[in-house]
Amino acid sequence: MGLIRSHVLVCAGTGCVSSGCKMMQEAMQQALERHGLSSEIKVVETGCFGFCKEGPIVMVYPEGTFYCQVKPEDVEELVSEHLLKGRIVERLLYKEPVSERAISLFNDIGFYQKQQRVALRNCGKINPESIEEYIARDGYQALAKAVTQMTPTQVIEMVSESGLRGRGGGGFPAGRKWEFARVAQGDIKYVVCNADEGDPGAFMDRSILEGDPHSVVEAMAIAGYAIGAKQGYVYVRAEYPIAVERLSIAIKQARELGLLGKNIFGSGFDFDLGIRLGAGAFVCGEETALLTSIEGHRGTPRPRPPYPAVKGLWGKPTLINNVETFANIPVIILHGPAKFKSIGTDTSPGTKVFALAGNINNTGLVEVPMGTTLREIVYDIGGGIPGGKAFKACQTGGPSGGCLPAELLDTPVDYDSLTAAGSMMGSGGLIVMDEDNCMVDVARFFLEFTQDESCGKCVPCREGTKRMLEILERITNGEGVAGDIELLEELAEVISRTSLCGLGQTAPNPVLATLKFFRDEYEAHIYEKRCPAGVCQALLSYAIVAEKCKGCGLCKKVCPVDAISGDLRQPHTIDKDKCIKCGACVAKCPFKAISR
């Protein structure tokens, strides 16, 4: 036919790559050739659709049919049925968990209905390796407008007016930071993008770089124009190879078209970008440590002030913003601050991207207007808790954040409400926990992380997190003593107050937040030597409740250490000396006859 009538978009984000999209895509290309369709149907690689749990994801246009978990062996049917004969392949559609209803249009899926995509506007819509597709969706128009029609001050006024706050965790007003960098004295200035993304489980920034790298390139050029910088750097962890590759391609393409380089749009403004790879230390996401790392030194923080806007990279004024912060910039410049402010809340305008993880049906990446409640995210978008379990807590803010209990599910998600409730926004990790999670163990987990990632430069963080971790380990091992909680609180207070950087200052947060809402669990561990959620092994004691046991013998069969004995149809017993508390018997018992 020669003319293209259909685009088949295949998600090529990290999530779908690991669930095998490449093999499927190859199979697709072969099937199209077999059916003589390769000249009329174009297969396009895109960035993340967000619904990673359902990957590999395939979207067929113009119909807009959303296919999930497409494997190489499904491809023949997809091509011969849908692409040749126009029949939607029902079995590959997304099925609503409760009603089992198959849904073909992605906007009809609950997961997407409450989402609003601003930062992720192009992810899953365009080929991230094609600058032309980015341009077709108004890409580089904001840069053109800024450098040809606006003064740097006007650009900054627009950013300030939008109320955009930093998405990297702190929530500092972007416009104010840009203004500080603009007025700072210096012949050379820099723009830096923080793509270190160190929060465990977070992948918002990775998805933007993988799915829409040009949005960051464009925004950084706009920032360069606004503050008077000619050079920018993106600091990204080497563990993000796909993001690094797509970003490199984007920079190369932008240079080739003259959208980076000398005299951009004939305005006399020059700007270029480089990529610097980080080795994945959490502390290197902290802005001063990051700049030190770019300079070629070991990534450790230094005291602020002076802030980077005044004295940053190589001592020069430096504007540093997060990936998602930058991704919002072209939209603000192009459509104006009023439109941006119409989304979200008064003090937190716009949207926020979250990486939804933990005990939740729909894991993945979601972008919602600020002010959406946790309940809407967990139940309407996330599809609730699997296995009929009860919701226990929502962890936001990663290792610097806290856990909010069920009573606070109606908290709106914005910077101020989350802080007021006792947690924080952070960079967008959102981990849902069900009744089987021990909150003391959760606090121990996060402290283990920060203790491990502490760079060791300042004493409070290096020694303090270690002491706190030791206490938490004691408590979860059943060796907690009276006074431990108070000691934790005292240490937390000193560490937050005296640490050099945000890592130490916020490291105690997971402990303080769990103490605030789940103090009774700490007390049960210390005073009753009991783990209410049944997680802390040292505190568990497995026993069979004779009245409930039917003597079916299933537990005996599954026990790996032969600790269970008993005759058929007679109550069984567990030898506590042999028991290794693995929990296999509990999982197997059909009568819930085993207590711990």
Binding site: L84, K85, F265
Partner: protein, 112 residues
């Protein structure tokens, strides 16, 4: 160096290609087994050619439309506003006329 005019011309050209992903007006050709036997693939090719030549804001879609076999090949226009017109027993030469007649209604991709 790129000028704003050059940027706009790339945008306008590629935007037309991307209409497939955000279609306004659709011309649905019945391509089930019976449709294909009755010549639906040739009709589809002819329709696409005219749409392309005239640069229309319309995409051509294959779908298994259920109509009595004697009415095949069948083509259905679905406008951006939801308007539907069904054409039965279409031939390759008829479809060229049909698309030309729809041109005013759908407008060009340029102005989409």
């Amino acid at each position: 160096m790129m000028t704003v005019a050059q940027l706009n011309s790339i945008r306008d050209r590629v935007r037309k290609e991307l209409l497939i992903r955000e279609p306004h007006n659709r011309l649905v050709v019945g391509v089930g087994t019976v449709g294909i036997a009755a010549g639906a693939r040739e009709i589809m090719a002819a329709a696409m050619e005219v749409v392309n030549t005239l640069g229309l804001d319309m995409v051509v879609v294959g779908e298994d439309l259920s109509v009595p076999a004697e009415q095949m090949p069948v083509v259905r226009f679905i406008g951006a506003d939801g308007e539907e017109i069904t054409f039965t027993s279409v031939t390759a030469s008829k479809i060229r006329e049909i698309v030309k007649d729809l041109a005013d209604k759908v407008g060009t991709a340029e102005n989409a």
